[in-house]
Amino acid sequence: MTNLDTTVGDLGLRPSSRDPGPAERGPGRRRNTRRNSLVAPCSALAHAGAFGAKAAGPTLAVTYLSLLVLLPVAALITNAFSHGLSTFWAAVTQPEAVAALELTLAAAAIVAIVNSVAGLAVAFVLVRDDFRGKSIVSAVIDLPFALPTIVAGLTLLALYGANSPFHVDLAGTRLGVGTALLFVTLPFCVRSVQPVLAELDAEVEDAASSLGATRRQVLRRILLPSLLPAVLAGAGLAFARAVGEFGSVVLISGNIPFKTEVASSWIFSLSQSDALPAASAVSILLVLISLIVLLGIGWARRRFNVPEAV
């Protein structure tokens, strides 16, 4: 990088106020060289992207997104109704489909609630407690997000499946399905609450104490209400993820129809048996329902969010 880069960076005009500029990074500057091995290929790709952006601009972008997103989604919607509304209805009211949808939505809701509570507890420990190895805990929480879903499913199958050292067997049970969903949705529930909790002013709790509030009252009247929007956001993310989850569930659930078959598994088996319109129909319904739930959560969040300064 040349002089111009250093100068511009030193002016403190950084992307976000959270980022220290190169001038402020100080000893951390050495970190830059370690990451340079990643940065160089990224830069090269970015250049190509910029070139593309300049060269053919919006047309290229539209083509890229059309081929990968727009066309497939359009095809999905069209295909679902390709044989008319009655066929759509038949596909989504098929007993196995209904069972799968019910299980999926119920499981996602329960898991979202359980992990909202758990996520809150984890966030409290991360923000307010202090012990050796706390940073390892933080990494553990992110692991389900970085891990491939099939591997996640395998780890749960290994510990809670047929040869479990705990002598339980959750394979083929709804509890097993729930456990898999808890695993993959945990990071969302923790990371949505944690920064909000960290930024809460400690003085506010002191104020409440001095006004006569017990520890429980402080929690109930001050802390939790402040955290509620973040908890709802996390719950929404968890729900959305759980509803569509496939890889982690497929191993431990056994995909037993009417018992542990989730919607994504049902769609999968429909597609394997070439019943594509039915698969599309169920997909559309699944997307619609989760969209409605997410909108509802979004509304609830806005309702509980405090208005900004006028």
């Binding site: 003085e203 002191d206 104490s209 509030a213």
Partner: protein, 340 residues
Amino acid sequence: MSIHVEHISKSFGEAAALDDVSLEVESGSLTALLGPSGGGKSTLLRVIAGLDTPDSGIVRIEGEDLTGTPARERGVGFCFQHYAPFRHLTVRRNVAFGLEVRRRPKAEIRSKVDELLELVGLSHLGERYPSQLSGGQRQRMALARALAIEPRVLLLDEPFGALDAQVRGQLRQWLRDLHDTLHVTTVLVTHDQEEAMEVADRLAVINHGRLEQVGSPTELYDRPANEFVLTFLGPATRLGGRWVRPHDLAVHQAGDAPAPPGARQGAVTRITHLGFEVKVDVELDDGASCWVQLSRGTATDLGLEPGQRVWVASVESPEPVEPSDPSDAAEPTRSTLLHA
């Protein structure tokens, strides 16, 4: 409700925040804890409130030993520098909070809140959220909130620190008026000596965790117990090895008027006009330098220019300035200043 703080010490790790501090606050008075940032005054306030526990010492309110009592049972009202508003509650609910956690009947709460909002001038803003108020309004809300529980004492931690100069001035006056109406024992922490002197009945100067001196503003200003109090409370300069207030100095062009005994000679180095006051920097012949504070009129009359030869003399009252009564000062071993 009087406050007695006896031999309070507190350390955070290695650093001693408070070192054997004892202080008595008279019931119904407004006392300011004054001192530089990090000196320990906020810590002392929090110890009185019960938000921090001292390593040793006793806190009494109206004679009752409250050292082991948690904050919520002490009946203290506390206001923070950044107001600590409950953001998710309206102004009304904020003020009502202390009453709600005590489970008072709704009607009682409503009327009390109305009364308090009226008192602090926020009646028309009851349904707003704190984020929709200005800084001054938020602090008034915080005061109303603290007063709602009818506290025995009111503790204010740099309440005006985060406000504009103009708003600060208004609120200072307003606070004094409020105190004169309500007569709640109040302790105010500030690093602004002008604020302390303007608002408080008594000042307690705290530096490096030690109580330097306690007394009325005039006492501390005219009879400081040590150099720190002297320099902290008002402008100070040295003439002939002694400390003196710049406005207690007279200056004349050499030759203009006979120099009184004890006067020093020197040359004007700089003249700064600060509105009503004029600051004249003088380099004395003995190598030291001092500065003199004159009113505009006096300065014009004297017709001073940089470079001129002048004499400087102290015109304080003939009675030599003595340190205050040792029983007021916490450290009688400190050397006395401003002596003849």
